[in-house]
Amino acid sequence: MATYILSHPAYAKILLHAAKYPHAPVNGVLIGKKSNGSNSIVIEDAVPLLHMWTSLSPMMEIGLDLAGTHAEALGLQLLGYYQATERLDDTALAPVGERVVSKIKEKFSDAIALVVDGEKIGSGEAALIPYLPAGSSNTWRPQPANSNFSLANAKSPLRVLSLIREQSLHEKIGDFDDHLEDVSIDWLKNAACADKDFNA
C-alpha cells in the first residue's frame, strides 16, 4: 500500500480555494511524484480548477490537460483530484470526481482523491478525507483516519486558518475559471498562496 504525504503548499491551496468560494462546490487536481524506490508518494502541489458548473466537463478536461503539461514541465505528474462542497456535512465524492480521478488513475496507478471535510476546518486536524479505490472495482471509498495518508507538516491546518482569518489570503487564489475570465491570473502556480516559507 502506498503512503501519501501532502505538502504544506498543496494543503494550503486546497483550503484557500474552498474558502474563496464557500457557497459553491470547487474542485482541482493534485500533482506530485512517487519517490524512487519507496512506496511513498509526495503530493507537492494543488492546481485549482473550477468553482462554477463543476458538473460539466469541457473546461475540466482542458484544465486537466493544461495542468498535466504544467506538471510535466516541473518533472511531476498528475496524481489526484480534490473537491469541496458548500454543505458542511456532505463529504461524498461526487460522480464527476470519480470520473476525473479514474481518468487520472489510467496514467498514475496510485491516484488519490481528497474531499474537504467542512466540519473539521476549525480543528487542528487535516480537514480532508482521502478516497481510494476499493479492491479492483471502480468504486472509491473513504479511508479511515490514521491510514496511509498524512500531512507533511502537522501545523498546516492551523496555519492555513490564520492565513484566511488574518491575511484573507483566500482572496488571492485563482482557479482555471477565474483565469478564463482574466488571463493574467496565474492559476497554475498561484505563487502568492504557496506559503513556501512556512517551516514550523
Binding site: S55, S57, L66, H70, L180, K189
Partner: protein, 295 residues
C-alpha cells in the same frame, strides 16, 4: 439622518439590492427615531426589507420584532408566511422549515415563493432529499413555467446526478424563455459536451460566438466558447464519426480544420502581451496545448 436612511432604503427596495449590513444599520436608525409612523403605508415594505436583511446577517432579534408587527398587520398574508418560513430556516431547522412550508402550501398552493423556499431547503439537505427536490421542482415548473431560475436549478440538479440529457431538456426551456442570453447557450453547449453529444456542443459553442456582437467584444461567454470550439473541433477531427444523440451534422472536415485554426489564433491572441495588458500567465503551457492539438 432618518431622511437619508429612508431614501436609501427606498432605492434599495425598488432595485432589490442586497446590502444587508447597511440595510440593518439604516433600518435601526429609522426605528429608533420613530420613523415608522412617518412611512405610512410604506412601513410594511420597510419592515419586510428589514426582516430579510436582519435574517441575512443573523440579527434574529430584529427580525423577530419586525415579524411580530407584520403578522399583526397582515395576518395570513402570503408574503408574511414566506418570511416566517425564512425565520425558521435561519434557526438552522431545515426539517421544521419544510414542514412549515408544506402546511402553508396546503392552505394556499398558488404561493410560488413558498414553493421555491421549500425546494431550496430540500436541496440544501443533500443527496438523500435530492429526488424529492427534483419532484417538487418538476411539479412547480408545470404550473409556473416561466421561472427561468427554477429551470436552471433543475438543470443543475440533474447535472449533479449525472443525468445530462435530462439537464439538456431543462436547459432547452431556458433557451426559449431567454433566447438572447449567451451564457445559457454556453451552458447548454458545455452540458451537451458532457452528455457526449460533441457535434451539438460544437455548434452551440459556435453559436455563442455568433451571438456576440459587436465583433471582438471580450465577453466572458465568448472566451470560454473559443476554448470549447477548439476542444470540440479537435475531437471531431480525430473521430469523425462520433454519434450525436440529437443527430446534429458537424461541419465538413475542411471547415473543421479552419475552425481549429481560427480558435487557436483567437486563443493565442488573448495571451499575447500588449501595451495595455500584461502577458497571460501560463502562456507556454497554453501554447503547447494549442499547438499539440493541431491535426
Amino acid at each position: 439622518m432618518v431622511a437619508t436612511a429612508l431614501e436609501r432604503l427606498a432605492t434599495w427596495r425598488s432595485r432589490g439590492t442586497r446590502a444587508s449590513e447597511q440595510t440593518v444599520k439604516h433600518g435601526l436608525t429609522v426605528l429608533e427615531d420613530g420613523g415608522l409612523k412617518k412611512l405610512g403605508d410604506e412601513a410594511w415594505n420597510f419592515l419586510e426589507q428589514l426582516t430579510l436583511a436582519s435574517l441575512d446577517i443573523g440579527r434574529l432579534d430584529i427580525a423577530d420584532e419586525c415579524l411580530e408587527q407584520l403578522t399583526e398587520g397582515f395576518p395570513g398574508s402570503p408574503r408574511v408566511e414566506c418570511l416566517k418560513g425564512l425565520r425558521i430556516e435561519a434557526d438552522n431547522k431545515p426539517i421544521e422549515a419544510i414542514r412549515f412550508y408544506e402546511a402553508a402550501l396546503q392552505e394556499d398552493d398558488t404561493n410560488a415563493a413558498l414553493w421555491k423556499r421549500k425546494i431550496a431547503v430540500l436541496r440544501s439537505l443533500g443527496s438523500q432529499n435530492v429526488s424529492q427536490a427534483v419532484e417538487e421542482l418538476t411539479i412547480y415548473l408545470d404550473t409556473f413555467y416561466t421561472d427561468v431560475e427554477a429551470w436552471i436549478e433543475l438543470a443543475d440538479v440533474y447535472a449533479e446526478l449525472n443525468l445530462y440529457s435530462l439537464s439538456l431538456q431543462a436547459l432547452s426551456h431556458v433557451l426559449i424563455l431567454a433566447s438572447q442570453n449567451p451564457f445559457y447557450v454556453l451552458r447548454f453547449a458545455e452540458t451537451a459536451y458532457t452528455a457526449g453529444d460533441i457535434p451539438l456542443a460544437h455548434k452551440m459553442f459556435l453559436r455563442v460566438i455568433d451571438m456576440d456582437e459587436p465583433e471582438g467584444s471580450k465577453s466572458n461567454a465568448t472566451k470560454r466558447a473559443w476554448w470549447g470550439v477548439k476542444l470540440t473541433a479537435g475531437r471531431l477531427l480525430s473521430s469523425p464519426n462520433t454519434p450525436s444523440e440529437s443527430k446534429t451534422q458537424p461541419p465538413s472536415s475542411d471547415h473543421l480544420r479552419l475552425l481549429d485554426e481560427l480558435a487557436t489564433e483567437r486563443l493565442a491572441e488573448s495571451y499575447r502581451s500588449t501595451s495595455v495588458t500584461p502577458q497571460g500567465q501560463g502562456r507556454d503551457v497554453i501554447l503547447a496545448w494549442l499547438g499539440g492539438r493541431k491535426r
